[in-house]
Amino acid sequence: MSTWRLKGRLSLPAILFCLAGAFAAAFALLSPEFLNRANLISLQRSVAVELIIGLAQLAVLAIGGVNIAVGATGVAAAMAAGWLMQEAGTAWLLALPAALLLGTAIGATSGYVVVRTRTNSFIITLTMTTIVFGAMVVATKATGFNRLPTDLTAFARLRLAGGYVTPLFAIALLASGLVFLVLNRTVTGREILMTGANPRAAHASGIATRKLVVFCHAASGLLAAIAGIVLMLRNNAAIPSMAGNLGQEWLLSSFIIPILGGASLFGGRASVAGCIGGALLFAVLRSGLLTSGINDFLLQMIFGLLLLATVVAGQMAAARDEWRG
């Protein structure tokens, strides 16, 4: 169920897919390397990471919150996995679930504090960011772990579907499918969207809004941890700076992807298909612009403008359709 329908015309995710396709075609015309297998694989890997980052933010946007700590949580989970496997000698079959559990616990803590203190999630997750990131750096002394078990490195190098699909991308799609089902086919998902759209009405309808807030933050933490682990597999190492200082490098993409996909910052509107389209467009643009020689910094500026344009356009569309009374 996509709640954002553009009256009889193309749905938003479809527009995003078309745009991503058009840009891909344009970049392929400009430079043929864009379509070679190595680039397609690397494109997929970055779509995979960005998509899961976007889903991590989507999980809290759905209920009208934000999670500034997505990056810090992801890095902390990856570092925990790295430490467990390399320093503590834990099998990856135990280390990875432990890392996911850590991410979930971080998210659940944020959510619990949000509902207990009735403070908005922005400030809680901002403090959580520094606590988690600070603790991670202090604990690991800011050194990375680059000797991952061979099982894992082999898994990351696997190629599926005739060598064109990476397992990381498959993980991202699997996560998307799961989020989609919970959000659109279960009572919990229905109640989350209702809570996001109007928490007072949801509360008055007997929906356990506080539990759902904790649930969404926990889910966000879990997805952030998955993103961290996927990035670790992609880099073949867990590195403290892999999401920038305090994980800030994930911040922009975590918002831009779901919001491109039609998610509302005020809750109640969250489209997984839109999120996939947003991640595709984001990754294609970045990869294409980088291969055509635009530097990384200008790229950040372009994405900032894109975010601004998206939210302004969304707001204008909303103002046009507004029913007042």
């Binding site: 169920m1 709640t3 329908r5 086919r185 279960t186 009572v187 919990t188 229905r190 109640e191 969207l193 209702m194 759209a197 109007n198 007072r200 009405a201 949801a202 509360h203 008055a204 309808s205 007997g206 929906i207 356990a208 509302s264 109640g268 509107r269 507004e322 029913w323 007042r324 009374g325």
Partner: protein, 519 residues
Amino acid sequence: MSAVLAGRGLTRSFGAFRALDAADIELQAGRIHALMGENGAGKSTLIKLLGGIYQPDAGKILIDGHPSLLPSPKVAARTGIRIVHQERHLIPDFSVAENILLNEMPLTRSGLIDFSAANRIAEKLLDRLGIGIAPHRDVATLSAAQQQQVEIARVLHGTSRVVILDEPTASLTPVEADQLFTLLRKLAAAGVAILFVSHKIDEVYALCEMATVLRDGRVVERARPLSEFPVDDLVKAMVGRSIEAGRRASPRHVAGPPLVELAGVATELGHKGIDLAVRPGEIHGLYGLVGSGRTELAHAVLGDVKVTAGSIVFAERDGPPESVTEAVRHFRIGHVSEDRKREGLALDQPIRANACAAAWRRIASRWGWVERQNEEDAVAGPLRELDLTTSDLSLAAATLSGGNQQKVSVAKWLVADPRLMIFDEPTIGVDVAAKETLHRHIRKLAEDGCGVLLISSDLAEVITLSDRISIMSNFRIVGLLENSGDYADMSVRAMRAIQAATAWSSASWSHQPHREEHS
């Protein structure tokens, strides 16, 4: 004598809904003019046009006989037209003086705000108006009535030629209302034109010289002197068709053990010694002024406000519920809130989702799985019963008219199949036809065996629907009346109960309970 402020053919629509249709109004200096009409008749829209908050789609505004534009409240204020809104718009942490003067705070020679000069100016103004509030107090520490006095003082600072008051007595006790009337008469004597917006008939006769009556967005009586305007005619003008519905009132005597019984209940918000019982199949009216604690009592039954003494016992189990969630899921209590926008519906969610919000757990299959088809099957019946005809349940609730939105928030509870329904001001801001549908459904719910607690400040509605009526004043139940169905008789008895209680409480007033504003 020409009018200070006049509107000619004022029209304003919201979407497809015409809130005001070619309305005329004239205000004269020194006269108190009543603007009457039921909820949703277009009173608020008219005063917002006169105050420059809305712009008319058609028609014009005349000031001293000259066509004028009021593009903003600022321009209106400069012309001397000021509105005292129904909601309070004060800055809680600022003093009384600063709230009155706000952007006109006096400055010292160095250009800084001179708070003591501000206090002097405010004190002079408050003295002149006979308002006994110290100007240096923070408004957060004032009672609701005092805050309203501050808003009136704010409006009267400077040159006000027209003062419009929107339902000013909604949260006042009769004694406080009398003080307000004295103040307004003083103003009129000083030459200010006053528009008094209300639907309380006795107040209007006590205070005003003439009345303009709106119904369904049209002026049905224009500036008619109240001395030649019998009460019956005025009521007929206001209520129109729905008074016919009112005549059909047929209270029943419902016997049997109560569905829910409150005994000696006190709450954290200041309720004391509340006794109340609702039987299965009974419509129990809960009448009182805004701010008398009715909504808050409903929240106590729902488990949202802490009960500090006494007991709430349900037929099957002891209450109160621990949370609204428990109230809905296990006690099967439904609640249509007075605040439709904020508590009733999520306007940007589909109609289908809104109608299912209280019942997803019943609709879902095992494992919490919900398909769209399950939802549509569940809501089809209730929506049809409520005559809600819409082609597409995926549209946002915001696309519906106010009356249909209210129907969706009732349908939500029909889907959930409650044992006890609490309706809080169910027909506020709803057109007459939708109101009749809703009334019919409240009756049908009761006939099907559901207990109904009906909260309303519309006495006619309470008398039309209820079997028994509890009267609430100042967070206490001050009377329990068997409904005779006769409006004249019942309204006198209800008012008498409230007045007796206020007279008693103002004589031995020791402390005022904490009130939550629900306006």
